[in-house]
Structures are given as C-alpha cells and as structure tokens.
Amino acid sequence: MSVLRPFSAMDMFKFNNINLDIWTETYGINFYLDYLARWPDLCCVQEAPNGRMMGYILGKAEGSSTEWHGHITALTVAPEYRRLSLARSMVSRLELVSDQQYKGFFVDLYVRCNNALAVSMYEGFGYSVYRRIREYYGSLGVGKDGRDEEDAFDMRKPLSRDPQRRSVRPNGREINVSASSVS
C-alpha cells in the first residue's frame, strides 16, 4: 500500500532516505526541474501513508517517427521498501502514460549488463534486450566483471501502437553499438 502521486520539486527536500543509498545518484537541482517541467506526468513518487518517500521514477518522452518512445531515466526504491512490487507499479504507470498520453511506440531503459537482478526484473515486466551499448558507464573503467560493468543493455517493451512488436528483436544481446551513437 502506497500512495502514487506526481513527483514535486519539494520532494528534493524529502528524498534522503532513497538517495543516500549508493546506487541512487543525486543530481543537480536543474536535472529534476527539467524533468518536472517537461514530463511532469512521467515522474512519480510512491509514498508511505506516514508521508515517507518509498521510491520514485523519472522518465521522459523522446525520439522521432517510429522511434518516438517513453524512456525510464531513473527508477529507485529505498532499501526498506524493496520487494513490494513498487518498481513494477511505477513502471506500469510510466508505460500507461507513454502509451495513452504520449502515444509512444515503446518504452526503453538502460541497465548495467552485470546487474543480473535488474535485468531479470525488467524481463519479468516484459522488457527484452534490444542492443548492448559499449562503454555506456565508461567513466567507472573496467571493474571486476570486465566489460559487463561498463556496458549497458538497452531494454525495450513495445506499447499498443506497435502491435507488430517491431521495436524489439530476439537477438538484441548480440547487437553492439557504441555509446556515442545513442543519446
């Protein structure tokens, strides 16, 4: 049970329990304001009844013609609220808005290749790997998992506007592109 509501600028004063977790980046103020001003309906918060933030999603809509799609930029849940399907409900909200409001063809996201847990979670939500982006997280350098640590999977899920499922492909894991070729 959680309240699903729009992300508000004032949430920046409240999101410490989520953002102090090491895997969640705290960006500059502008980053959030930009998302909130441009895609207010793609940025939501899950809140506990006592007002504590549990997690949030930030997304955008981009691309042209058949590449027009919703994109999940950040998805995060505070450690104490994990394993409650919060991610699923936020993602499906974003899919709904991308589909009905923005009329996108698909929703996509980037995930570190070695983050098996996240990859399988997204697969559970209906996403599949579309391509592998080399050195997407390059700034970290090659870690102990080698290339998997700095490469990202671009995972996609088709929406109702793509009934033929043209935005996905079965052999996505074998398709390699460089980081500079994606936005």
């Binding site: 049970m1 729009p6 409240k14 705290t26 103020i29 502008n30």
Partner: protein, 944 residues
C-alpha cells in the same frame, strides 16, 4: 559605425568576456571608447568586465551613466542585464526593461524581458499587468496563461491578504475563461483550471469539466488532475460517491493507497458527517457498510495474495477506525494486525505499517503481546530473519515505562546484538556494497544502549553503542543509518573528527546539503579549531552553502525557461518558485551563516570592514521569512513509544538550533556589530550596492530595529542551552551599558559618508554615487550639541558572567562531565570574550577617549577585560590538561573494559580497543586545539 564594422569591433570583446579574460576586455573597451566615446554597448561591456573583476564601484558609475540614457538596443540591454544581475540591482533591471517596453510597445522581446524581470523580482502584480498587455497586443495564448500564473503567484504570496487572494483567483478564473482555446487541450492547463475552480469552490463548473469525456481521459492518465478531482469531490462532501468510484478503480486493478482511503472514507460517511454524539441509527448504518467494505477488501486481499499489501492493510485500517469509533472491540483490530503480521512479517516495512495502529492500549494488551511472543522465530532464511526483526521492533515499540531499567535495557541490547551476529551468516556471501539483512538488529542494539545512557548518564553505554555500530559498518559499508547514529553519538562524546568522517562518507551533495548539514554544522563552533588556523569547519560551512548560490543562479533562470520554451509546461512554475524560495530563505542556510560568523571572529582580525559587512548581511537575514527544510525524519527511531525518539535523545546538549536559536544569536551579533560600526541607516543606504532582499510579511519586521533587537521570547530562549541563555543576558547587559556612549561618540553620518567618498575616490578616481562630497566637506563639524551621557557603573552581570562560567566549568570538570559540554562552556566564554572586544573596539582609539573624556569608562572596561582574560586563560589551561589525560593507556583500557557486554560474536577486545583509541585521539585533538585557540585569542584581545 556600420553593422559590419560594429561586429568586427565588438567580437574580440565578447570573446574575452567568454574566456574570462576580463582585463583584456576592459582594455579593448577603453580603446573603443576613445574612438566612440558615446558607444553605450562599449560602456555596458566594460561595466560587465568590471563587475567580473570585482571592481564594483567603477562598474556602478558606468551603469548609472548608461541607465540615464535609457538604452534601447538589444545588445546593450542584454549586457546590462548581466551587469545588473551581477550587482544584485534587480530593481534597476526591472526599470530598464519596463522603460524599453514602454518606448517600444510593439517589441515582443522587450515585453517578455520586462515580464521576466518582474517575475525574478517577485513583482507578481506588474508581471500580471505586462503579460495581459502582451496578450492584447500579440494575441498569443501563451501570454494569457502567463498572466493567469502571475495572478496565482500573487494570490499565493504570503504577503497577500486573505480577501485579496479570492479576488486574484477570480481574476485568474476570468482570464482562463476568456481563452479562445479550452483548457483541456493540455493536461497542464486543465490542471491549473481545476485548481482555480477548487480554490473558488466552483464545484458545478468543475464537475462539468471533470465529467466530460476529455476530463475523464485526462484524469485517468494524470495523477495530478486525478488528485484535484478527488479533492473537489471531497470538498463537495461526495464521500460515498467517491468511495464507490474508488471501488471500481480497485476492482479494475488500481492499487493506489489513495483509492483505498477513499473507500474507507466512504464507509465511515454515516458517522463522520454527524456532529457531536453519533446516533445509534447512523452507527447501525455504518456497521452495515463496514461489513460490506470488509468483504470487498477481503476479496481483493484474497486475489492479490502476497503480491500486494494494500487490501490487507486497508482491512486493518478499517478495523482501526471502527475501533476508534467504538464500533468494534480491540480484539478485532488485534486479530487483523496478527493476520497482517503473519502475511507480511517478512517485509521490511511491516513494522512501519503496523506502528500506526499501535495505540498504547493496543501495544500493551495481553492479546497483542501474546501474539508477538508466540511467533515462530528463526534464522532459517532471510525472510525468517526479517520476521524476527519486525517482531523485535514491534515488541520494543510496546515496552512499558516500568520496563525501562538499566539492567533490562542492557540485557535487551545484548540480546539484539547476539541475534544480529547470528543473522550475519545469512548475508555472508553478499557483495561489499550490499546491506546485511540483519543490520536493523545492530541498530536496535545501539538504540537500547543509547537508552541506557539516557537512564544512567554513563558514557560507557555510548561506547557500547558506538562499538556495535562501528562493527555493523564493517559488514555493511553503505549503511547510512549507522553513520547518522554514529555522527550524533560522536558529537555527544566530543569526538567531532570521527563524526565528520562519517558525514563525509555519506557523500552528501547538492540539495542534500540543505537538508542534512545540520548533522555536523549545528553548534559547530564548539569543535571549531579555526582560532588555531585549522579551517575545517568554516570551509565545511562555505561548501555546504554552495547550493544556495547555485539555486540563486540557476533556479530563477529555469523558471524563465519554463515560461518560454515550447517543451516546458507552465503549471509547475508556482511550484518551482516555492522551491526556489524555500532554498533561498532556508533556515539552515542562515544557521550555518551565523555559525560561520561566530567562527570567523575567532580567526580573523576584528576589522571594521568585516564588522560592517557582516552587520549588513545579518540584518538582511533578520528580515527573512525562513523555511525549515532540515531532515530529521532520516534519523532512525526504534525507541519504545513511551521514550523520546533517538533524534530527541541524541541532540547535542538536548537542544536543536532552529528559528529561536537563530533569532537569539542574530540579536546578539547585530547589536554588537551595530555598536562597533559607524554605519547608520542613511550611510548604509548610500553604500549598499545591490537591492535589499524581500522582507518577511511578519509585522514584527516593521518595528524599528532597536525595538526588535530587544524583544525576548520564551520560545526562542527554549532553543538555547543554559550557557547560551547566559551569554544572551550578558550581551544584553553589556550592550545596554555601552550603547549611550556608542551613540554619542559615533561620528555623524555625513562625516562617515565623506570618509567613504574619499576612500572611493582614491580607489576609483570618481566620487561615490549620489553623494555630494563638497556639501559634505562644508559641514564637517562633528561636535554634538547634546550633553555626553553619564558613565554608569559596570552592571554586575557583565563581570559575574565570566565568574559563573568559570565555576560551572570547574564543577563539570570535577564531575568528569563529557568533553563536549566542557567545550561548549569554554567556547561560549570565548565568544563573550570576543564580543567584549567588538563592543569596546570604538573605545580603543585614544583620540575618541580623549575628546569625549571616557577615561573612566575605559578603565572599567580594562577591568572587565582583565577578569575575562584570566578566565579564558584558565579554561584553556584546563582543557589542555584534559586533552593530555585522554592519551593515557590506563584510561583507554578502563573504558574498553566497560565494553565487555558487547564482546559478542566477532567483536573482540582488539576491535573495542581500536574504537576507544579513535575516540580518545579525536577528543585529545579537539581539546588541545580549542585550548590552543583560546590561548591565542587571549593574547590577541588581552591588550586594550
């Protein structure tokens, strides 16, 4: 100049400015001005380069020249906007843009600039008028919505009176209605429209729109619109209808808790609407709907199973509400909670979920205690461990006052710790970046130890808590909860460097500085070694304040972008402006600023420049309406409901530094600086470069400053420690005593101005703006007509303060109190010593003393200073001795000995010794550092 020549001439200047070569930009401008002495653009660019070179006075002179001509060409205006922004002269900026638009009403760009200048300055009314005019002129929808937003912003401004609010919303409503395109073409405009209707209680109109096909579609995808719709239905009293609608949504698969709340509110409508005594009839009606809702929720719960906890929790909430209304007995509620625990006990949030229903009589009921006691607990899996943790938290929450004994709490702490150790095996294969599933047991153990400390005041319990947490961090490197607890405990124990290490390890950045810096910067003067030249804390203050500069520079620009850019929605603007305001006028910002001033005076010379500058800044702060953004919710709390929270227990000196603290210290410092300064209001107005910030609508800010400074409020004093309260009283007595002499001997404003004008002329070659130096010189007579005030004897408190502080210091020293408290007394005494120097700075000048015959006063001051000086010296000596004692091995082993209760599992003696050693080292460092700083200050200020 032809356009081409112009372009060729100016390009290098722009390039220099872009590259930051401001000096060469000035040179190029000078060259150009020789050829074209009237080129406004060259002047404006030169002014810009000068501002960036910090040559404010020269830039100001140029600015005035340019503004007098009322520039109209875009390049000059654009350069001037940067100059004026840099100088903080927004009022001039507004005037310039408005003038330009007035002269060229067909210029859309100038209209927009005039609008933004007003928005940036918070002149909502002018912004509204300009945008209305623009809408008429250019017939663009966009401008109509600009004026709608301006009206809303004005309505929401705290300085707008209540009745005006409605008028403005009505205006907004009229404007929206006049739009040629309906608001529902975009979800944002629709949302704004709905909010206006909600504010004006125009429910029928709202309903018409909401019930329309388009309205329904918008609400189904826009959470914001859907929320406004819900609010409107509730305001209309349509709880039942709303409940029914929510039920449909839930049946369709929506699991938003707001929908469940709507169902529950609908269920209790029969009893909620009746005033006072609830009739038996409505109770009966409610009972029936209770049963029905219960069945509905149970069905959903059945369907969802473990997948979603909304329905089961809503069932508990239903029974809780019914219990509170006397419709159900407590056992029904407890059973429901037991079901919930059985189902979701292996989720980390189960404790939080149930805590809301644990009223004291429920928590302490035998039924509930038995349920908790009969849980089958084990370490078989992570899920089992989580259940165990939830049960421990629930049990601890319900502990009674009687069970709060040192022995019982110690036993619990040890028990939590052993369970923690056992639980560690379940997470032994996790990567180093993951959190251990049993972490919360370590937090519980530390909580219990902290409670022992509050019960018996013995530091040993804190050492135990710290050992547990430090060990926990070796297993869960990323546990920020452990770090936050450690920061608090280390500060209490007087080991600030360790607290700072943990704070830095949390990697607090950007906006988090505003919400979290209170953890280490509250009363940081206590630990500051700035007097010895170690600028760790002052630097930390400056760094954490960077975010406010970023906010000032970027957020308002962002608001402007939100107004103009095609892809930006405008509904967010009021929210962004509120955000900017909350950061700009953040309480923590100014608490840190105050702390920085206090530290600054310990390491910088008391020069009138510093005093004048800080005086002006502190006076600005004194006029602000503050927002408290500090995050205290982030601190974990697993203390029993009958005890204070961990946050309350672990506040250093038991007091938080909020508005009351800030107000008190501002009063102390503004008064002292005012006494020391020659600036009076008229001089200040002449010397001020930028605009004054907006003042708070609080009527108190309208009072004359001396009156405001004299106000004392009990709620403000409540945030001060006893030593700080004494400092306040002392400063008041000292100020009252010396004020007449300051006022009498302070040079009259025209003399001060003449001197300032002379200095400016020496520096810049041109006279001070708006000051006629000839007129000033002609009237250089500084003799006053009135008689000199009589010299009164020294108020008793002024001397006694130092004696009192000293005896309290000695008493605590004998009682072996914690170093942080000793440091607090010492640094407050040191602060009084510095303030004494500030208050008497004026009487250090022999000529002043001679002319005004203040010999008697000076000898009294000398006397006070000597007494203060010896106390400071004495304290410094004692602190140094104490610091040395921290280094003795015996003491270390004695403390380590006291930590035997926590030698459990992998915590061994060596680990404890190491923890103790780190604390001792940190303590020694701060004690010695503060001692040395005091001795240095003693030398600086002992001569008069």
């Amino acid at each position: 100049m032809s356009a081409v020549t112009l372009e060729r001439q100016f390009r290098p200047i722009y390039e220099s400015l872009d590259n930051g070569s401001n000096k060469s930009a000035v040179l190029s401008c000078n060259k150009l001005l020789k050829k074209y002495p009237n080129s406004l653009l060259a002047k404006a660019l030169k002014a810009l380069a000068l501002v960036r070179l910090q040559k404010v006075e020269e830039s100001l002179a140029l600015c005035d020249e340019i503004l007098a001509v009322k520039p109209l060409d875009e390049p000059t205006m654009s350069a001037m906007m940067h100059v004026l922004k840099g100088l903080g002269r927004n009022v001039d900026l507004v005037t310039m843009c408005e003038e330009a638009y007035k002269l060229q009403p067909q210029n859309e760009e100038y209209g927009a600039q005039a609008f933004f200048a007003n928005i940036r300055n918070g002149n909502w009314k002018s912004a509204q008028q300009i945008s209305s005019k623009m809408h008429k002129q250019f017939q663009e929808d966009r401008y109509l919505y600009w004026s709608v937003i301006s009206a809303i912003l004005q309505a929401n401004d705290p300085s707008t009176p209540g009745n005006m609010r409605t008028v403005l919303y009505r205006l907004a409503h009229r404007l929206v209605a006049s739009s040629p395109t309906p608001s529902y073409l975009s979800a944002d405009r629709f949302h704004m429209h709905m909010n206006i209707l909600k504010e004006l209680d125009l429910y029928d109109e709202a309903n018409g729109l909401l019930e329309s096909e388009v309205g329904k579609v918008i609400c189904s995808t826009s959470l914001a619109c859907s929320q406004t719709r819900r609010d409107i239905w509730r305001k209309r009293g349509l709880y039942k209808e709303e409940g029914k609608r929510a039920r449909d949504r839930i049946s369709e698969g929506d699991r938003n808790w707001l929908e469940f709340l709507s169902v529950l509110d609908g269920t209790f409508t029969p009893v909620a609407s009746s005033q006072g005594e609830i009739s038996e009839e409505s109770k009966q009606e409610c009972r029936e709907s209770l049963v029905e809702t219960g069945e509905f929720l149970a069905e959903i719960a059945q369907k969802d199973g473990f997948k979603n906890r909304a329905a089961p929790l809503a069932l508990t909430e239903l029974k809780y509400r019914a219990y509170k209304l006397g419709l159900y007995g407590s056992s029904v509620l407890v059973e429901s909670m037991a079901d919930y625990l059985a189902q979701f006990g292996d989720k980390a949030c189960c404790f939080e979920d149930l805590k809301a229903y644990l009223d004291p009589d429920i928590a302490s009921s035998e039924q509930w205690e038995t349920i908790l006691a009969n849980q089958n607990l084990s370490f078989a899996s992570i899920a089992h461990l989580q259940r165990l943790i939830n049960v421990r938290k629930l049990q601890r929450h319900g502990l009674s006052d009687e069970s709060m004994t040192v022995e019982a709490e110690t036993a619990r702490a040890v028990n939590y710790l052993s369970e923690y150790m056992e639980g560690l095996s379940l997470g032994k294969d996790l990567p180093a970046t993951e959190l251990q599933p049993s972490d919360d047991l370590a937090l519980l153990s530390a909580h219990a130890f902290v409670n022992v400390w509050t019960l018996n005041g013995s530091e040993e319990a804190l050492y135990n808590a710290i050992t547990v947490l430090e060990f926990g961090l070796t297993r869960s490197r990323m546990s920020f909860l452990m770090r936050i607890m450690l920061i608090r405990l280390y500060r209490i124990l007087g080991a600030p460097s360790l607290a700072l290490d943990h704070y830095r390890a949390m990697n607090v950045k950007r906006v988090q500085n505003d919400t979290l810096s209170h953890l280490v910067l509250t009363r940081a003067l206590t630990f500051s070694l700035a007097a010895t030249g170690d600028l760790t804390y002052p630097t930390e203050c400056l760094e954490s304040s960077q975010i406010y500069l970023v906010n000032a520079q970027e957020t308002s620009g962002f608001v402007v972008r939100a107004f103009t850019a095609e892809r930006y929605t405008q509904v967010r603007i009021p929210e962004f402006i509120e955000f900017e305001d909350r950061l700009e006028n953040s309480l923590q910002r100014d608490v840190v600023k105050m702390e920085h001033v206090r530290m600054r005076l310990t390491h910088e010379q008391l020069h009138t420049d510093i005093i004048d500058m800080e005086l002006i800044e502190l006076k600005f702060i004194f006029d602000r309406l503050h927002h408290d953004n500090r995050d205290f919710v982030i601190l974990p709390n697993y203390q029993p409901a009958c005890q204070p929270t961990f946050n309350e227990q672990s506040l250093m000196f038991g007091r938080s530094c909020g508005q009351g603290w800030l107000w008190s210290f501002l009063k102390i410092y503004i008064r002292a600086f005012q006494h020391a300064s020659d600036l009076d209001e008229t001089v200040e107005a002449k010397l001020l470069i930028g605009d004054r910030p907006k003042t708070s609508p609080d009527p108190e800010t309208k009072l004359p400053l001396p009156e405001r400074l004299a106000i004392r409020k009990s709620e403000e004093a409540a945030e001060l420690t006893s030593e700080e309260r004494q400092l306040m009283d002392w400063a008041t007595a000292l100020g009252d005593w010396l004020e007449p002499h300051h006022n009498y001997t302070r040079p009259p404003p025209h003399v001060v101005l003449a001197e300032a004008a002379k200095q400016t002329e020496l520096k810049t070659g041109s006279p001070l703006r708006g000051v006629d130096s000839k007129a000033l010189n002609g009237n250089g007579n500084s003799k006053k007509d009135e008689e000199a005030p009589p010299i009164k004897p020294v108020p008793e408190l002024v001397v006694k303060f130092f004696e009192d502080m000293h005896s309290e210091f000695k008493r605590l020293l004998e009682n072996k109190c914690s170093p942080s408290h000793l440091l607090h007394i010492a640094t407050i005494t040191q602060e009084a010593y510095i303030l004494l120097a500030v208050e008497t700075l004026r009487f250090k000048t022999p000529s002043v003393v001679k002319i005004h015959k203040l010999g008697n006063l000076v000898s009294m001051i000398k006397d006070i200073r000597q007494k203060a000086s010896s106390v400071v010296k004495e304290m410094s000596f004692e602190l140094l001795k104490l610091g040395e004692a921290e280094n003795i091995g015996d003491r270390r082993s004695a403390i380590a000995e006291a930590c035997t209760p926590v030698t459990i599992g992998q915590i061994d003696n060596d680990f404890i010794l190491n923890v103790v050693k780190n604390i001792m080292d940190s303590r020694r460092k701060v004690l010695e550092g503060v001692a040395k700083g005091m001795s240095k200050l003693h030398n600086t200020h002992s001569h008069f």
